[in-house]
Amino acid sequence: MISATNHGTRANRVAEMRMAAARSGPRLLLPLLALMLLFAPASVAQQTARAKAIGQKLLCMCSCKQGLIACNHVGCTTSRAMLKEIDERVARGDSDDLILQSFVQEYGPTVLAEPPAKGFNWMAWVIPILAPLLALYIVWEMVRRWRRRAGLAPAGGPSVPAELLDRARHESQQESDE
């Protein structure tokens, strides 16, 4: 099932390249730099589902503002260190809250992916729920009034003559269907 590899051949190739680079001096400085960056450290794998769940509640602090798990910066050392810390704390048996709290102490509240539901930040959660409810109440009241008024008197028309309005509607209907 597992195919043969040419690991050794590749290692030889890299060694040859490095020797050639040394011979060529500054001319190959750029490619070497490139290779170094290509080999830049990657983020370390998450060990447990719990560590992953905690990681999803945090943002990477490398200034990318992406989720800690989602940070895709090539060679991002910040996310690597943060993920490693979560792994270690989970392995140590720390509670989720304790782990999150320690990150807040280290990086400030911006490390949390959601605003904490306390103080003024409580508004972040309450307003998006209250606003539609308020709008729903307004619409409900509006409909109730309309219906009550519709029972009492015919609805008022626009302040343009009916004939002009009808002609405009007929013309525009035709134009929009053309």
Partner: protein
């Protein structure tokens, strides 16, 4: 040559200002010639901005790095394809591109309507000229892309700097979709200026009835379609290029593009209430105003640096200009509405809560709730810092928690709304129309639940999706059956006939179907899996039904980048299925690394593999594999949405027949008469236009 571009831009500004001032003077003094000259000046802006754009592109194509903008965003080895796209790679060029698209829209609208709506078009021209003037002011005095690179000699004399090669294009933008995504999104952003200008013009000119809605119907749909495609292409680009396994991160810039799309969607629905029943006039006018203002707000968020984002342009002083323009635009809208609100009184009022009107009302309410939640979450960090003095973050978990229930409610309305009749729906009709789709949805939910998929939101999403699809299918079936019986054709051709008789209504259903596919695709993300592992050659990892075996790692070099590529063999049930080649590139000119994802996509699941780099401890390569179910449905849904919108923009065959009949009878002096078409269940109202 740079002077040529700068001069064209300056002339364009002069023409736009003339169109604005002469347009207002022409309307107030009722001088037709003045109005006409203002229109011509408005149209000339297009030619002048085109000259400026062509000049900048000429600099890119000839590798003339004397311009700071070209030097920053291109280099000699950049493929021609990307040299063209480098126009919108930075702040200055993208704002010029914005101006250009706006001038195209403006020119096209003024040209098409040059002999129509004589009371409406002068106001329209003035408003477009006003918006164009703002962007040309930025192009000329704040973000001019024609700044030359110069250096002073010993005598203090400035000379044009000779730059051998440019910095190159950001590697993340060197992807074919990035050539299409920004223009699509910008066509959406700028396009909303057209319905906005028509709405404001109708209000200022007290133009009778719903004419502005009929005039702008196709403009709005086209713009909405561009915005939809732009958003989906952006999501696909993020998925295929950024290498984090997802397509939407609720980043402020992503949110900024979503906001006008949501209000635009609400507008496309609520205009039907005005067209059919003469209701919601104030609402519609404000919806289109808000959509335009959100486009400007989105641009402000992207370009001012007020909110931090991975996509944003470099922080700049441009924010103040946008705030001023936003405030001025809002003020103009407010005053126009205040002075003319009596003209917007409704013809009718709501008869019943169980009616098509109320479903549109709730649809609008839910869409606006979603828009508000996204806006609130995007701006809350700024508000919180202003009030409390400390910074906080509002990330994806917040947006998902708030928006997922709202989106599901919207999905319910997508299915329920079209089943309700205008004015009032009887209980019998409700039972008849809802019973089977609802039963189908619940049956699908039970089936999936027994299979072990028990996540709450995906389950609800599936039930509602099946419900919506069945309601759409029932609508097509009911209408087509009547036509098939009447014409003696088969059901399939009857469906085609039905669709072409009322393209707007059935095109709309197809758009709804596309949105259902998008919803199903998004629901699939609840079942995403990922595994990350050090994978030297010979090592393997397992994810879902796949085993990935590391084969080799190669280095490659091109004039543009150097790369290291992994060769991975993917096995399924012991059989070799495919080879994947995830890659990490290092772009020489910009000195930036980037990863290229290896993606094997199928309707059921995507196998998404990233070469994540090398371990800092032992220099071993790390492979990150994701198994993302149903993602392809999102892109398929996008294609269906585009096809549905295209269909909805076509003229209905019934209308064409009616117009032809009217034209044939006109010489005989019979006047207009409706064409003889059978009345079908799906389109039972002869005057139905939705």
């Amino acid at each position: 040559m740079d002077i040529f571009g700068s001069f064209a831009l300056l002339l364009a500004l002069v023409a736009a200002v003339y169109a604005l001032v002469a347009g207002i003077a022409g309307i107030l003094s009722r001088r037709v010639l003045l109005t006409k000259s203002a229109r011509h000046a408005g149209m000339a802006v297009f030619g002048l901005v085109t000259l400026a754009v062509a000049t900048l592109e000429y600099f890119f194509f000839t590798d003339n790095f004397s311009l700071a903008y070209v030097s920053s965003h291109s280099n000699r080895s950049l493929p021609l394809f990307y040299k063209f796209a480098a126009l919108w790679a930075g702040q200055e060029g993208s704002l010029l591109f914005w101006s250009w698209l706006l001038s195209i829209y403006g020119f096209w609208a003024l040209f098409l309507n040059r002999k129509r709506h004589p009371e409406l078009m002068p106001w329209f021209g003035v408003i477009v000229a006003g918006v164009q003037t703002f962007f040309l002011l930025l192009n000329n005095f704040v973000t001019n892309p024609f700044h030359i690179l110069a250096s002073a000699d010993a005598a203090g004399v400035f000379h044009v700097a000779r730059v051998a090669d440019g910095n190159g294009l950001n590697p993340l933008l060197q992807y074919p979709e990035m050539v299409i995504h920004p223009p699509m999104l910008y066509l959406g952003y700028t396009g909303f200026t057209i319905p906005f200008a028509f709405a404001l013009a109708a209000l200022l000119g007290r133009y009778p009835g719903e004419k502005w809605i009929h005039v702008t119907r196709r403009w709005t749909m086209l713009t909405w379609c561009f915005q939809s495609v732009g958003i989906l292409l952006g999501a696909h680009w993020a998925y295929a290029v950024l290498g984090w396994g997802g397509y939407w991160a609720w980043d402020p810039v992503e949110n900024a593009s979503l906001l006008p799309w949501i209000t635009g969607t609400a507008f496309l629905h609520s205009v039907m209430m005005q067209e059919k029943r003469g209701m919601m006039k104030v609402w519609n006018v404000w919806l289109v105003f808000v959509t335009f203002l959100l486009c400007i707000l989105g641009t402000f968020l992207t370009r001012s640096g007020v909110v931090s984002s991975v996509h944003a342009f470099a922080e700049s002083s441009i924010g103040g200009w946008f705030v001023a323009f936003l405030g001025l635009s809002f003020l103009v809208c407010l005053v126009a509405w205040w002075k003319n609100h009596d003209y917007l009184r409704s013809d009718h009022e709501l008869d019943s809560l169980v009616s098509r009107e109320s479903s549109f009302l709730f649809n609008n309410l839910v869409l606006l709730a979603a828009c508000f939640a996204v806006l609130w979450g995007t701006l809350f960090p700024v508000l919180s810092e202003w009030v409390t003095g400390s910074k906080i973050s509002v990330g994806p978990p917040f947006f998902n928690r708030i928006n997922v229930p709202i989106a599901l409610f919207l999905l319910l309305l997508t299915g329920a709304g079209p089943l309700l009749a205008w004015r009032r729906t009887s209980l019998d009709a409700l039972r008849r129309n809802f019973a089977w789709p609802l039963a189908g949805g619940v049956a699908a939910g039970v089936a999936v639940f027994t299979l072990g998929y028990r996540e709450f939101y995906p389950l609800v999403c599936l039930i509602l999706s099946v419900f919506v699809v069945l309601t759409i299918a029932a609508e097509f079936y009911r209408g087509a059956r009547v036509i098939a019986q009447h014409d003696g054709t088969n059901l399939l051709s009857a469906i085609g006939e039905l669709t072409m008789r009322n393209t707007r209504r059935y095109g709309g259903y197809i758009v709804h179907f596309g949105m259902v596919l998008v919803f199903i695709g998004i629901a699939g993300s609840a079942f995403n899996q990922d595994v990350q592992k050090e994978m030297p050659p010979g090592q393997s990892l397992s994810i879902g039904p796949y085993t990935i075996v590391s084969q080799d790692f190669d280095n490659m070099e091109t004039p543009v980048y150097q790369s290291e590529r992994a060769t991975l063999e993917v096995f399924r049930n012991g059989r070799s299925e495919m080879m994947l080649y995830p890659e990490r590139r290092f772009f020489i000119a910009s000195q930036q690394p980037e990863s290229r994802v290896a993606l094997e996509s199928s309707p059921l699941r995507d196998l998404y593999v990233v070469f994540a780099g090398r371990s800092p401890d032992n220099n071993q390569p790390i492979i990150h594999a994701y198994l993302n179910p149903l993602v392809k449905w999102i892109w398929l849904g996008g294609i269906v949405v585009v096809l549905g919108t295209g269909l909805a923009m076509l003229p209905s065959r019934r209308a064409v027949l009616a117009l032809r009949a009217a034209a044939e009878r006109a010489p005989a002096g019979e006047g207009f008469a409706p064409a003889r078409v059978p009345v079908v269940g799906g389109a039972s109202r002869a005057d139905s236009h939705d």
